[in-house]
Symmetry: C2
């Protein structure tokens, strides 16, 4: 195992050194033993940057829209971090070609950090690593962070739930509205973006979304999802998206929702980490003498399994 | 909550009182608080009865075959317990009509106990309850126990794995051989029963199974799955099934496999119970003051999530 000088890496990342950032994300992505030290060193520098989630089916124009949004935020002088997450891909680290092509305007901009993350076999790992990767990006000085997920499945919903504000992209004529309902996307959407709005069927898509929102029947004081029409490839409507995100953030703040959401996310993260630790401890016991002996007693009827489980836990 | 005199119920069940058996199974099926006491009282009377698993797609004749097997074991003077498990059904306690009809010869026989169990919402509960229900049946004096599962999915494979000897039923012309491979049935089959062997395509089914077994390529000393042809509705081939089960049991015993399998099952059961206990403890913490406070600190960057998880675990 390679050794790393974590304090030095974190210090370098804090100055925006892209290689240090890349190294730190790789370490947390692989759940390296240093993940704990990294998280501890970064914690004081986190908890402020807005996190924007962007999700939607392939082909709706997520990368184009993200690139346009990045341009808008750069024009405001903000440093932007982008985490492109693909739960279905077994490959990691390498960006999707399409992203790179559309992102090429920003690839050499030191104010933009782009990173792809994919599942290394199991999704649980990705779900655990993503919050750490977000901390690295914020620790490295990103003022705003975009998580872009590929597809609209349960995994994407889970990852999108790490965002303060979630954008769901749709395009006309893709039957996406129905798919979004099935995937539970309606519940997580703060802003609907109907991209490629110059295409046939855009009005139908708008009507479908309005119908879904009406069915959702938000109570008084609840956020009512916004709908924005864009033609991202031409840059049209992007300012409206930026405005909708800002309005949502203002709503989150004035209603105390931002603190509440972030606290709930942190609670879920802590619980998941605690459960992982417990599971590892249990797993370690397989190699020990205690379990086979207890199992033999239960198999022969000398002991009941509940008492055996208590004994096993007492040895933790 | 109703109170039960568990020692009295167990004593009654030990004499074969069907109402006491039914009550005990209902309690363990619902994971009642008394489950622990029941398991403890029954443990000394368990660990001996052979457990036979029967699985296969709907329509292959599982219930008819089970009924015929029960007849054969009753002719040997053995008391038989039957647990019909349907993971897909949300209903519990009520037997499947078809079972009852085919089982009607045995319904009034005090040497036969028939019980249906279904998932009450979540499969984990069923997987946890089934070993306890098996203990109740053995504790009540059953000399041999049959677990019949409906369908061929992952859940059925899991439940069939509780048996010492697993029978996989197939019927001609149902494409079951392929399905069995997909569902991982090949790995768990100790005996293949080709039922309705007088139908067209029986030879194809036999050839398919032989091909699968050959591909499985068991090593020296390993059990080679047996194949038996039956026409269960006419009682044909049932003696061959009984013989194949007996041969498998002899092989299990002489190779030390029986003790090993039962010990591995007990180990898995103990681990599952221990993990459930740990999860409940974690769940209880949600209502306590510790977690929200830790989460608020993580959300604000005052604490990293790993240290927070350690603190949470320390309070267990």
């Amino acid at each position: 195992m390679r050794t790393y000088d974590i304090p030095a890496l974190v210090a370098a990342a804090r100055t925006g050194d892209p290689r240090a950032v890349a190294r730190l994300i790789s370490l947390v992505e692989n759940d390296a033993p240093q993940t704990r030290e990294i998280a501890s060193a970064l914690a004081p520098h986190t908890g402020q940057a807005p996190i924007i989630g962007i999700t939607g089916s392939p082909g709706v124009g997520k990368s184009t829209t993200t690139a346009a949004l990045v341009g808008a935020y750069r024009a405001q002088g903000l440093r932007v971090g982008i985490l492109a997450v693909d739960p279905s891909s077994p490959f990691s680290g390498g960006a999707i070609l399409g992203d790179r092509v559309r992102m090429q305007d920003h690839a050499t901009d030191p104010g933009v950090y782009i990173r792809s993350m994919s599942s290394r076999g199991h999704l649980g790992g990705l779900a655990a690593a993503t919050p750490q990767a977000l901390r690295v990006l914020e620790g490295a000085g990103c003022d705003i962070i975009i998580i872009e997920t590929v597809g609209v499945g349960q995994a994407e919903v889970e990852i999108a739930s790490l965002a303060d504000t979630t954008l769901v992209l749709l395009a006309p004529g893709m039957g996406d509205a129905i798919q979004a309902v099935k995937a539970g996307i309606l519940e997580i959407a703060d802003v609907f973006v109907v991209n490629k709005a110059d295409r046939d069927g855009a009005d139908n898509t708008l009507r479908d979304i309005r119908g879904m929102i009406a069915l959702g029947a938000p109570g008084a004081g609840d956020w009512r999802p916004q709908i924005v029409k864009t033609i991202a490839a031409k840059g049209e409507g992007i300012t409206d998206v930026v405005d909708a995100i800002a309005r949502h953030r203002e709503w989150l703040t004035t209603h105390g929702e931002l603190a509440l959401r972030r606290q709930n996310r942190a609670a879920a993260e802590i619980e998941a980490l605690a459960l992982t630790t417990l599971r590892e401890k249990l797993g370690n016991l397989r190699g020990e003498a205690a379990l086979p002996e207890l199992a033999a007693k239960v198999a022969s009827g000398d002991l009941d399994p509940f008492t055996a489980a208590d004994t096993l836990l007492a040895s933790l």
